[in-house]
Amino acid sequence: MSGNGQVYEVFARKKRADRFEHVGAVSAPNEQLARVYAWQTYDEAKWFEMTVAPRDAFAAVNRPQAPFTLGDPGGRAPADSR
């Protein structure tokens, strides 16, 4: 079965004047599901506004690599070490 699609970063704010806050990320096969997963997962506040964007849409400005780039999603743990 195909993996989890791609990673979407989730941003939200509680009221109009607020800045958007990076609240987390979801993995989803498409944007429609990314929106649903984000709304269901990060439901800790009554958000005025929430938005998602694919992780690879972000470009680094002052750092060598784009933000949120860690590891290789879809990789596998080295071992199931207990």
């Binding site: 990673v7 997962t41 999603p73 879809g74």
Partner: protein, 312 residues
């Protein structure tokens, strides 16, 4: 990865350095973080089928809704931990659907059946309190930035679960009679389960990468003590008997039984008089408890069934 040595990174995180990317990590740091996040995610995930088993005994539609809201929260928390693991190169599909049930890393307490409403709310009062104790410490102290942010939502919601549990065990206590006895019978097996939740005592651990790398702030014994000092005085106030005593003068809790201790999962009873070693306890944890396979299977069954339908 690899701009620091282990010693350099340990010194930096103790001085407040926050790790944000893989290049900030060492291999040891990453391994310790993966273990910690796996325990965290598995504990949240397996609490869902455990709570669901008991929620079917909810006394009304409203209470069923509260219980399923808690279950949904727990699944969200598991998702956050697994999402962070994905960024560390761990395959979430493998974590959820391919691992042997016995390889999950949640505490032994969540391998036990939860039979009814009294058991569900007792678990909220004891196990969610354990969760807050552990994750609250991680939230305050972790050197891993993404986890610190991820725990904002988790801490908020775990407090709601805890209140749900404490309000209900108070209600059972005030009702007295059979209601109070139902919770008392639960606490008899569940309380020592909570004591074990925090793992081996400190003098059994030679060194601890999670502490060295500031993935948490408190030792197992300090965390256990924090939990005991929250649970024992409350239960005493409500008139429940626990094998522990709170001393208000010293503000300390003493267990009135010897650790380590053996558990008979079929009889759901602690064998307080049987002396065993921590090695034997570790063996029991590793062998997992009676509901281990069933709980994991219940999270997989319908997904696989639908996949088969779609493939047909």
């Amino acid at each position: 990865m690899g701009r620091f040595t282990d010693e350099e990174l340990q010194r930096k995180v103790q001085e407040g350095f926050i790790v944000e990317s893989e290049e900030d990590m060492t291999e040891t740091y990453k391994r310790a973080l993966i273990t910690q996040l796996t325990v965290q995610g598995d504990t949240e995930l397996i609490s869902a089928p455990a709570y669901f088993m008991a929620a079917r005994d909810a006394p009304s539609t409203n209470t069923m809704v509260s219980a399923t809201a808690i279950i949904q929260d727990e699944l969200g928390h598991a998702n956050i931990a697994y999402r962070l693991l994905e960024d560390l190169g761990v395959d979430r599909h493998w974590l959820l659907y391919e691992r042997e049930p016995a390889h999950f890393k949640h505490p032994y307490g969540f391998d036990q059946p939860l039979m009814n409403w009294a058991e569900l709310v007792s678990a909220n009062a004891l196990y969610d309190r354990a969760g807050i104790t552990l994750l609250g410490d991680v939230h305050r102290n972790t050197s891993y930035g993404p986890l610190k942010r991820g725990l904002v939502k988790v801490s908020m919601e775990e407090n709601f679960h805890l209140r749900h549990g404490e309000v209900w065990i108070r209600r059972f206590a005030e009702a007295g009679g059979a209601a109070k006895e139902a919770v008392q019978r639960t606490l008899d097996w569940m309380f020592p389960m909570g004591v074990e939740w925090f793992g081996m005592p400190d003098d059994r651990k030679h060194h601890n990468a999670q502490l060295d790398f500031r993935l948490k702030g408190m030792t197992n014994d300090q965390l256990r003590r924090t939990w005991l000092k929250a649970v024992v005085p409350l239960c005493e106030e409500l008139g429940y008997d626990l094998p522990a005593q709170y001393d208000a003068d010293t503000d300390e809790v003493e267990l009135t039984y010897e650790l380590p201790c053996q558990y008979d999962p079929e009889a759901r009873r602690w064998l307080f008089n049987e002396t065993i070693t921590w090695k034997q306890v570790f063996e029991r944890w590793k062998a997992r408890g009676p509901m281990n396979e069933q709980y994991v299977d219940s999270l997989r069954r319908s997904r696989f069934a639908v996949e088969r339908l779609l493939a047909a």
